[in-house]
Assembly symmetry: D2
Homo-oligomer: 142 residues x 4
């Protein structure tokens, strides 16, 4: 399966008084990347919810914080599907520094994580099987 990349800019809202990106916010960056990956496959999550009663929720997250991103950095968020279960998808994700102070830098890993997402019925929040067309899209060799 192909790796998806989303560039993310660091704003003041993302930082803390340690001078760096607040660690919990890497979860937001990673979610944005998963969302844009889904969109790139043709799936809008509000439409999935309205028309197909399908919702995704994060079931577990394990994050390793290696180096801090700073205010105004440009980072790349990489996502890759590593496992597909009956009602779950597991992602390996990585945030890399790309640009600092307006200048390109040699890429370095800032944060890596494994995120497990489950598919739920939007009506009652119970697990429901991943629809077949999604599984096919997720496993397609691009």
């Amino acid at each position: 399966m192909k790796t998806f990349k989303l560039p993310v800019r660091v704003y003041y809202e993302d930082t803390d008084s340690g001078g760096v990106v607040y660690y919990a916010n890497y979860l937001k960056f990673m979610e944005r990347a998963r969302t844009e990956w889904l969109r790139s496959l043709g799936y809008e999550q509000d439409v999935l919810r309205e028309q197909r009663n399908l919702l995704f929720a994060v079931r577990s997250a394990a994050l390793d914080f290696k180096r801090p991103a700073r205010f105004n950095d440009l980072v790349d968020v990489f996502s890759e599907v590593t496992q597909i279960g009956g009602a779950s998808v597991t992602f390996s994700q990585r945030v890399e520094l790309r640009e600092r102070a307006g200048l390109a830098v040699s890429p370095q890993a800032l944060c890596v994580g494994e995120i497990k997402v489950v598919s739920l019925s939007a009506a009652d929040f119970r697990p429901c099987p991943l629809p077949k067309d999604l599984v096919e899209e997720f496993t397609r060799e691009h």
Copy 2:
């Protein structure tokens, strides 16, 4: 009408890389104070929503940022109702520094704001009149 006071502690999550509380977060502190004020009058907002189809939404906010709060500060958030309309309540709110570096300081205003909240039907998000018992509670001389 009486002034309500809520102490709020500043955590890393509230700050930005300028070394101070991220300005948008004063809106969160002020909302916590309005919520605890409502609770002190006997109203739980999840109950209002479930049992009385009532929801509050912020319609406008005007904030003046005077001095910054910093990581680990203890601040007091003051709330006072200044106007009650048919389907709205306007609050005057003020955030004051109380304690820094573990020591009490002479109070100084950090942020002042005027927040207008409207009452909505939880079913369709349309404005609905403020229930009489709430108006009575809001205007009672304590």
Copy 3:
């Protein structure tokens, strides 16, 4: 002065359990737009801080919440400089809905605001004059 436009996507991180964008987050969207506008003029804020001892801080904000944005909406954030003082810049900003459920919609205003930003010395956080080259850029007819 020209109006600057930044598209912003609404993610789960931006919403609240009312089902809409949490109102304080419009301040984040507006700040992203001011930041990208500055960048479009050639100014990186981390560089301004490091090399020119210059920092911007929000001094006041007045927001009017007209209609809610929802999860997965695409909105446009418009920024326009309306006033330039010796050590301040005032912006008129507007958030408009552009796309919902993957479909373009006729634009409608969601939130409008006036934001006043002051220039500070990064060393001591005291007000300092706006540098001339910035004032010239800000007032240039593009």
Copy 4:
């Protein structure tokens, strides 16, 4: 080592449009609990930073999301030190539901996590040994 408990109230700011607490925010709740635990032992983190050049940073986090907390819930956040290294402390943390809709409920686990925190020099952000008095406090049988 004793378990420390911090009650935390869920506000709108903590929720997302799924109707529940946004998962990344459990990291904030857990950090608040670690901070208040440190304070209960007599350590203010702004003082540690200023006077002893000591900073804590999260090095890794693993979270398991079991059941969602909702708007207005009251939860308890439990923290326990499980390991102390030369320049690190590992915590086992758990968020439990305590009160919903203004009523006490039988406690149930919502989120559990293991958080590893490292001690850094505030001057250069390099790892530095945990001071002896802190290690003693952390390992004391209360």
